[in-house]
């Protein structure tokens, strides 16, 4: 049956070229945006830290004293020969490849502005390799301990600074009275009720607290003598934080450990506070930072020491600190020419200015922190309330079901309304009609809360929906009311998801500019706001203002520093949210 057909099976050859081209094209498309953003971020970082003027010696010094020990730490923690070999190969091979490629492009095509091959190596090979090794290293016991400690140190400092900032606006004296008369008795009553299991004491806690708060407001102007600010912060923040840390530790590891964890940071913080007061520094902030960093750190260290695993990781902060100091010493001793970064201490603590070198972001940072704190409280409360109502309280059918569907559609549409329109709402409703004032922090906070409310609700709903129904039915079967089921079963299970969603939404709020412009937020304020009704500026507002200045030093220096500050805060917030979610996923 031989046919003369060369293609005996009847199938033709299919060209693979088209498919392969398409695959690479689509891969290229998926990384196009990321690469574009990456290049822009590299340039902003170079501008903000003045890396274009960094000498190769300077880069090498810090690479050797800071990056290399860190990489060694990660490799030690990962304890994997394969990873070590690959990492060294990538770092070494990358050095040669980047240098060769960069030189080739510079000579053959055109010089690349404000980049040299050392910087290209740093960003193209160094940064990704470091990030990858940090990720791998954090999987090991030693690395987990090291990063855990580092996270508590950085997080404690950030929260301490944020709380200190909030007291610029909220009256510390009123807080002192409210805490002493309202919060403390209420919490005490509740704790006693819990301990002795007397529900009556627990029920009484809320009214007692409320009465205390009212009394505080009334007494605020009647009482004339108050303790000094430092004593107030010590009594109302430091002591409770230390006590809470101590109680947590005491439950796990006995009284001695608890006394150390609570007492040591408290003593250090108190001493630091009084020393700072003597030295003319903002003593309350120093106290807050020290106590909010110290207590979690001490609790963590005590836990790690008890577990006895990965003790070497506790040295990571010391390693990094020593690296910075050693680098600085070498630079100083050998006179290595150092860059002059725009993003430095004076930028973060200074007021805006017409001259680029004096310009600072401090009032805008304070404004942003205050607004975000208010937005966090408002959108969290409203978001959780709405999502609980939609998920737990309304049936899926019947007239109430229709209402639920209308609410859902409405929320989805609100999420797509442009942010300028929210700004108009804030201007027309809050600022002018309700008289909260044009460009005040309250108006801004209310507007931004409404803006992110749909996102908060949608993510909170997802978190609540993912709670297994078995848990609800189990609670119902034990005779719990709907509110009891919600409070004791659903919300604790859903809380990590709700918090993650809220923090991500807050990240959106902190970068929003258009609504702030619409409600008339100040483009520039020279003093940090001191009340909720004072004119304020925010970080993105200030960036917008500076971006309009024509001087090159503003465009390529001050604004870059502001952008990097904003992005670092955003990354910190989103990182916290992702850590929260991962931890919750691992826990369940």
């Amino acid at each position: 049956m031989a046919t003369d057909n060369a293609n005996a099976d009847g199938f033709g050859e299919v060209s693979r070229v088209r498919g392969i081209v398409f695959e690479y094209l689509s891969f290229g498309a998926s990384v196009f945006g990321l690469v574009a953003l990456g290049v822009l971020l590299v340039y902003v970082a170079i501008d903000a830290f003045d890396l274009a003027n960094a000498s190769p010696e300077w880069l090498l010094t810090y690479f050797l004293t800071l990056v290399v020990p860190f990489l060694a730490f990660c490799l030690y923690s990962a304890n994997d020969r394969g990873v070590t070999r690959r990492a060294l190969g990538a770092l070494g091979g990358g050095l040669v490849a980047v240098a060769a490629l960069f030189t080739a492009v510079e000579t053959l095509v055109s010089p690349i502005p404000r980049l040299n091959w050392q910087l290209a190596y740093l960003f193209v090979v160094g940064a990704p390799a470091t990030a990858y090794l940090a990720y791998v290293g954090s999987g090991g016991r030693v690395g987990a301990v090291g990063f855990g400690l580092l996270g508590r140190l950085v997080g404690g400092v950030a929260i301490g600074l944020a709380v200190g900032t909030l007291f610029l606006v909220f009256d510390p004296l009123l807080w002192f009275l409210a805490y002493t008369l309202g919060v403390l008795p209420a919490v005490g009553l509740y704790a006693v009720g819990r301990r002795r299991s007397t529900p009556r004491a627990q029920t009484a806690a809320a009214p007692v607290g409320l009465a205390g708060l009212i009394a505080a407001v009334v007494l605020r102007d009647v009482v004339s003598t108050y303790p000094s600010d430092l004593i107030i912060y010590l009594w109302t923040v430091a002591v409770p934080v230390a006590a809470a840390g101590g109680l947590l530790v005491a439950g796990r590891r006995g009284r001695t450990a608890a006394a150390v964890v609570a007492g040591l940071p408290l003593a250090v913080a108190t001493a630091g506070g009084f020393l700072a007061a003597g030295a003319g520094l903002p003593a309350p902030t120093v106290l807050l930072v020290l106590v909010l960093t110290g207590v979690p750190t001490a609790a963590y260290v005590s836990r790690v020491v008890d577990a006895g695993e990965g003790l070497a990781g506790l040295g990571l902060p010391l390693l990094l600190g020593a690296g910075v100091i050693a680098g600085a010493l070498i630079v100083e001793a050998w006179g290595v020419p150092a860059p002059d970064p725009w993003l430095d201490g004076s930028f973060l603590t200074g007021a805006p200015s017409r001259t680029p070198t004096d310009a600072g972001l401090y009032p805008a940072i304070v404004g942003s922190v205050i607004i975000i704190a208010l937005v966090a409280v408002l959108s969290f409360a409203l978001g959780v309330g709405t999502s609980v109502f939609l998920e737990e309280y309304t049936p899926e059918s019947g007239p109430l079901g229709t209402l639920t569907r209308i609410l859902q559609v409405n929320i989805a549409n609100l999420a797509a309304v442009p942010s300028v329109v929210y700004g108009l709402l804030g201007l027309g409703l809050f600022a002018n009609l309700l008289g909260l004032g044009i460009g005040t922090a309250v108006t801004a906070a209310l507007t931004l809360s409404l803006l992110i409310l749909p996102i908060t609700i949608i993510s909170a709903q997802e978190a609540i929906r993912s709670v297994p129904d078995d848990l609800r039915r189990g609670s119902d079967a034990m005779g719990a009311t709907r509110w009891q089921t919600t409070k004791n079963v659903v919300l604790p299970e859903a809380m990590p998801g709700v918090l993650t969603g809220t923090i991500l939404a807050l990240g959106r709020a902190i970068g929003e500019t258009a609504p702030l412009i619409m409600i008339g937020a100040a483009t520039t304020v020279f003093r940090a706001p001191d009340s909720l009704f004072s004119r304020f500026s925010a970080m993105p507002m200030q960036i917008y203002t500076w971006a309009g200045f024509p001087q090159a030093d503003f465009r390529y220096g001050v604004v870059a520093a502001g952008v990097i500050t904003l992005l670092i805060i955003l990354v910190g917030m989103n990182g916290t949210a992702i850590l929260l979610r991962n931890r919750a996923e691992r826990g369940s």
Binding site: A29, G33, Y43, L382, L424, L425, N432, R482, A547
Partner: protein
Amino acid sequence: MTDSTESPDLSRRGGLTRLKEGTYGGLFAACAAITLLTTAAIFVTLLSDAVVFFRSIPIAEFLAGTNWSPNPAGGGQAFGIVPLLIGTITVTVTAAFISIPVGTLTAIYLSEYATPNARSILKPLLEILAGIPTVVYGYFALVYVTPALKATLFPEMSTFNALAASIMVGIMTIPMVSSISEDAMSAVPDELRQAGYGLGATKFEVSTGIVVPASISGIASSYILAVSRAIGETMIVVVAMGAQARMPEVQQALFGIPFVNPADVLLQSGMTITVAMVQITGGDLTGGTLPYNSMFALGLALFAVTLVMNVISDIIAQRYREEY
């Protein structure tokens, strides 16, 4: 066996418990009502001031006017939305030229070609593009993209121009297209793909000939959402596009057919609806003036357009969704 003497109270008739239940239920309902109130408040706020505006400027003049100068130095206010519409359409269309192809290809790659590992890395990374504050994108466009374009492709470009702004808007809206399209593509059942392979189709043919048509409703609705987002985008255009409400020059060439040179629009500064609103805030904000009211009229137009687009996108996604 426990010998409990008192029988549990199952009637749940306690007044305090009931009060508590009712209070919490009411509180939650109130929270939910706030979302409805927000929509109502947006409508009322925009309408009330817009109505005042339309009493002095007729709607026809507003919609057909070709001159926008709310705060002229020498008098003679004019409130014509056409130049603003041209600016908005320019930015939206140019941005769509980036976000739609790139976003669609990204979605195809993620859903058809990427390994699970690559997908789990790429998807969150792409979301970063939508999470960067828009004022930062605007700064990028003004300070890095415009000089780079000026140095390489378009030497005659002005400092404030529509092109750089549109490119940034496009990049920002990529994840909007890619994530919704990818969801739609992933929802296409595997049987369809396997059937295609059974007929001898290549992966490329399956991806473009089966998966894309099968998920076309989701893809279309993602395009509309991305475009609606681009229409409402404010800070990128405010920072990078400048603030000149211009009518493009119409040229009588090419067999006498009037046309507009794209370079005239793209490489020059322009003004979108959102920019016009932001510009007015530089003046008096206590209300009652004509520019103040015009802001609300523009807001109403913007709100109406984006709302209609979202509703259309919703309808497309619902009605033309293939049920598998």
